[in-house]
Subunit: 421 residues, 2 copies
């Protein structure tokens, strides 16, 4: 009780310093390939906190050869992963605190009211690319550790803090950390959940479907086979598949989600000339993977549904649509809602917020899939920040949420790792 | 009878020279903007034949402001239109012989067995870009005139030979000639009809339809509106429109044509990212225009059908698909099958080929639409060359067809313009 009071007090007193730290982090834009300066700020902070540091450039053989490894980036020089460990005295459960430092590109600067990397503070919100996704969350983690350390609290279990690269591109940073041996009895990832608890996360993967046709002059279009028309058959079939896949989802956490595992048709490109029949259409999209599903099974199901379609169409039966699984891949997360880590977080949430947390399944993948499936570490995704503004212009985070999340996480660490008194 | 015999003899004796002339013309590739050298060969020939020449660079004000004018080309310098007139003694009907000198690009050279501008002769075929579309036809016109002149035959009516630019891009060359005053009592355009007679030609125009959606993350795709799905509604509606438009066609010349006036969906482009809901889709295509239709009415009909669709869809009713009429536009041609020019050509065809000609409506537009609708000149499209190889790799023309077409056209000129004996 004494410890929890100290945490609250420390966070109150150090609020201005905490805000300035988040500002500095947002101002150091860290899009893919440019993570080094933001990581330097993290490293400096870990040093001050006396954490035992592990800083390394990923790209090790065991990573590159891992079946889950998925990126088109080949050069990681100068942009390291950072791990800082607060060693416990022993006997407590360990906790892993994972944040990613990479941010998505700022997009069209004209859509931003202020500079995308301003870190501008207005009406209790801090603006800038990466504020919500997820430097605000990372700062909650750091504030939680800082509050514990500076309050003189000694933990039994280890706290493993990670600031990883490559989350936005498929999770190579977290995978590298797992393969380096960083696993724990539980993990918190403060992605923007809007203060909800997500024990389960939708996974996803990208697909590309190539549909062939036969070209002809538009004036005699009946002499050709229009690839766009055939692509429309494919899309309609995928819509049916989406319906079928979602019909069988019984997970109660999805009860308020209109489509728990959507199939998104994100792109279609076909044709070169208005008056020619196009002979090639390319569809790209994303298929959601349910928490309890295996990626391979989902791949197979989509491929089989296209084979089924091909049997109903004379042209497609001879010219099968080709499926490629390219680009992004995010493993789903599937923690039981009654897992002790959920209990811990729920209790601490109630202490701080004086209300029950909302528990849901996330509609997007996080590094939690890799941590839990490859690293065998139970993961809850919980953080400040609002999904809706992530990846968008004028991204912001509520300062209040950053500090409340920090307090909830700090209390959860105390409960999970135990105080050595 | 004597005259017809002379024509046949002259064409027999001069066959090797005629072939070499066609070779030279094909070897002088004349894609858009590069017509000058091929036109120089035409000019040289017209001079030798003693035709009265009119050579001019198009781009005159009256052309640029004409409602039918349609091109994105702004510079015509150095690439003139050529008209050569064989003046009659008076009292006969005039005839206009129209060929275009521009050829479409050769496409991927790897698809060609020989150089695209080789003019190679093999098994009675002459190969190269433009051989079929339509330098072979133009050579038939020139051979017809040459045979008449060199046989010492004097005509009553004028023969107006034209070698125009810009046919492939919407007919600005022929339009310029019409506006300069070149019209006649009848016209022959030897586009590749495979020796069929086309008194009617399908017109066409290009459209671009912009369909809006609302973007969202693919994992919560139900929060967005997928522009691709809405574009599919538009395409389906256009398929219905095509069916409706073709149901009402009763023209007997179309009885063997599966779809007399097709709507071709030539392009679709939508989306930037597989896991985002696309907020914009662009469809481009070509709508066929029946011989008896007005372009404006067809535009209106397509626009109305999209308004009709919009009424059935909550999103589209607020966010109407936008239609643009851009790029290519070819007026249809609509000569009565019993027109005297058809009778002349049919009779001459039978004399030379000893069989009835096949009479059809063309599935594509030609400069004939402009000649007949703007120039009030009755047009029959008839020529050597095969539609199937036009615009394709390994384009060729049958030498025999070039000479038979020349003979039929020469006899038709004698009949139409009358011999002054």
């Amino acid at each position: 009780m004494q410890a929890e009071k100290k945490i609250k007090e420390w966070l109150g007193v150090n609020r201005p310093k905490g805000i300035r730290f988040l500002q500095r982090l947002v101002q150091e834009g860290s899009t893919r390939g440019n993570e080094s300066k933001a990581q330097a700020i993290i490293i400096e902070k870990c040093r001050k906190l006396g954490l035992s540091l592990d800083i390394w450039e990923i790209g090790e053989d065991v990573l590159l050869k891992h079946p889950v490894f998925c990126t088109d980036r080949t050069d990681f020089t100068g942009n390291p992963n950072v791990v800082g460990i607060l060693k416990g005295t022993g006997g407590g459960r360990s906790i892993l605190l994972n944040g990613h430092i990479d941010v998505v590109p700022e997009g069209d600067r004209k859509d931003w009211q202020h500079d995308p990397f301003s870190g501008l503070l207005e009406d209790g919100k801090l603006y800038g690319r990466g504020s919500t996704d997820m430097k605000g969350g990372t700062v909650s983690l750091i504030l939680a550790m800082e509050a514990i350390i500076q309050s003189g609290i000694q933990l039994k279990g280890d706290v493993i803090f990670q600031s990883v690269i490559e989350e936005e591109s498929g999770g190579a940073g977290t995978l590298a950390a797992v393969l380096r041996g960083y696993t724990a009895d539980g993990a918190i990832i403060p992605e923007p959940t809007n203060m909800k608890l997500f024990p389960k996360q939708q996974g996803s993967m990208w697909f590309r479907i190539t549909v062939k046709g036969r070209s002809a002059h538009g004036g005699t279009r009946y002499e050709g086979i229009n690839a766009i028309e055939k692509a429309m058959l494919v899309i309609t079939k995928l819509q049916e598949l989406e319906e079928k896949r979602n019909m069988r989802i019984t997970e109660p956490l999805y009860q308020n989600t209109p489509i728990p595992v959507p199939i998104n048709i994100g792109k279609i490109y076909s044709g070169e000339w208005p008056s020619s029949v196009p002979d090639l259409a390319i569809i790209e999209g994303r298929i959601g993977v349910a928490p309890n599903e295996e990626m391979k099974d989902v791949e197979k199901e989509l491929e089989n549904c296209l084979l089924e379609l091909a049997q109903t169409d004379a042209w497609l039966s001879k010219s099968l649509p080709k499926v490629e699984w390219f680009g992004g891949r995010w493993l789903p997360g599937n923690l039981d809602s009654n897992h002790p880590l959920m209990e811990t977080l729920t209790t601490c949430f109630e202490k701080v917020k004086d209300t029950r947390p909302i528990i849901e399944a996330s509609p997007w993948g996080t590094d939690g899939g890799i941590l839990s499936r490859v690293g065998d570490t139970p993961v809850v995704v919980f953080g400040p920040g609002v999904t809706e503004v992530a990846h968008d212009a004028n991204e912001y985070i509520s300062i209040n949420d950053v500090f409340e999340a920090a307090e909830i996480i700090a209390l959860a660490i105390l409960d999970w790792c135990e105080i050595d008194s």
